[in-house]
Symmetry: C2
Subunit: 217 residues, 2 copies
């Protein structure tokens, strides 16, 4: 009941945050096509025209959204990496490597949903961001695998490591989405499967590296 007296800039910043929150919610619920200055402003409780006090246009708001989302994703990757470094060589850790991204996705599923959508939508303003994020994620994961002892010396092995990382990443996203949709209740089970998938790939990598050109049997 105590009225909180805000300075003008504090109030402005609050409104800005409201706009960003509103945009994120609409983006998640209705997609980029559902975004409009009308809807975002109304959801934030201000007039449509006041939207432009805070952002030059919708494009700029989306850019800000992408930057903030990217920061959150990078922080997650850093955390996962740090944990992996704390216990090098730990086998149970291999599994942990997969639990962390799964959990982080489930904590903020809207970020992944938006990213996946933008990644494949040529009309999306967030497309470049999404493509870069996906590439960063892929390389991060490839580095993780390399850290587990599967260093790639030549071009071919490096590419293979990247392909494996790409595949595992995609599988991670798919299982996380399935979990959110209620199909896969147990995240640990998902982590186990990802571990098993990556073990299979790495076993193959070891078997074919500097040996036969290509024989997965």
């Amino acid at each position: 009941m105590t009225s909180t007296p805000l300075t003008r800039s504090e109030a402005k910043d609050l409104t800005r945050r409201k706009l960003i929150r509103a945009a994120l919610a609409i983006l998640d619920e209705e997609g980029e096509a559902g975004l409009s200055t009308v809807k975002v402003a109304k959801a934030a409780g201000i007039a449509q025209s006041s939207f432009y006090v805070h952002f030059k246009d919708m494009q700029e708001l989306l850019r800000v959204l992408a930057e903030e989302g990217g920061e959150r994703l990078r922080a997650t990757m850093r955390e996962a990496r740090r944990k992996a470094r704390e216990h090098p060589g730990d086998l149970g850790l291999h599994r942990e490597t997969f639990r962390i991204p799964l959990e982080s996705i489930c904590r903020h599923p809207e970020l992944l949903r938006i990213q996946i959508r933008a990644r494949h939508d040529p009309s999306s303003s967030l497309r470049d961001f999404a493509v870069e994020t996906a590439a960063a994620y892929r390389e991060h994961h490839a580095a993780d695998l390399a850290a587990l002892g599967y260093t790639a010396d030549d071009e071919r092995d490096r590419r293979r490591l990247e392909m494996i990382a790409d595949g595992i990443n995609a599988a991670t996203n798919a299982l996380a989405m399935g979990h959110l949709e209620g199909r896969y209740p147990d995240l640990d089970e998902a982590a186990d499967i990802l571990t098993a998938l990556s073990r299979g790939a790495l076993r193959w990598l070891r078997a074919t590296s500097n040996h036969e050109p290509s024989d997965p049997s």
Copy 2:
């Protein structure tokens, strides 16, 4: 130079095909947000208002597009399955199981792109179709794995098989997209990796089935 005299219904059908083709191209290049009766009609070479001679509205055109795309996808699945049945127990075939979808994706990449986009876009008219297609693909693949001898008897194993199929499917899509983007030049290599991934998962499945509750080491 010989003018082909078309009956009225032939001409109408031709225009209809042109509209569908134009819509598919625009959908792939600009996304669903870029679709409009103006653009589609113009690209097909008719007046915007004539669009409505062929379709009730854009929604209906999208439905038709989804149905045709779905038919093509189902045909691919049937073909893959048929081939797998021809050589049961063939180990090299396990690899073939992955090459066929990869090739089919690369033959019509726009179908997958559109599907992935729609799958995660709440505003998409094609969403239901995309979700159903993804589910069908997942179950198809789970059945494929079961056919390889990893029959799932209880609820847990069935779910695990579905999770593995889901993961492998996602990886398949990711590698196909990477191939199309020029990152992975060799489709065979991609098929090898998918084979290796699935071997790892199935090995784990065999190791934990009806034994320990969950231990991936």
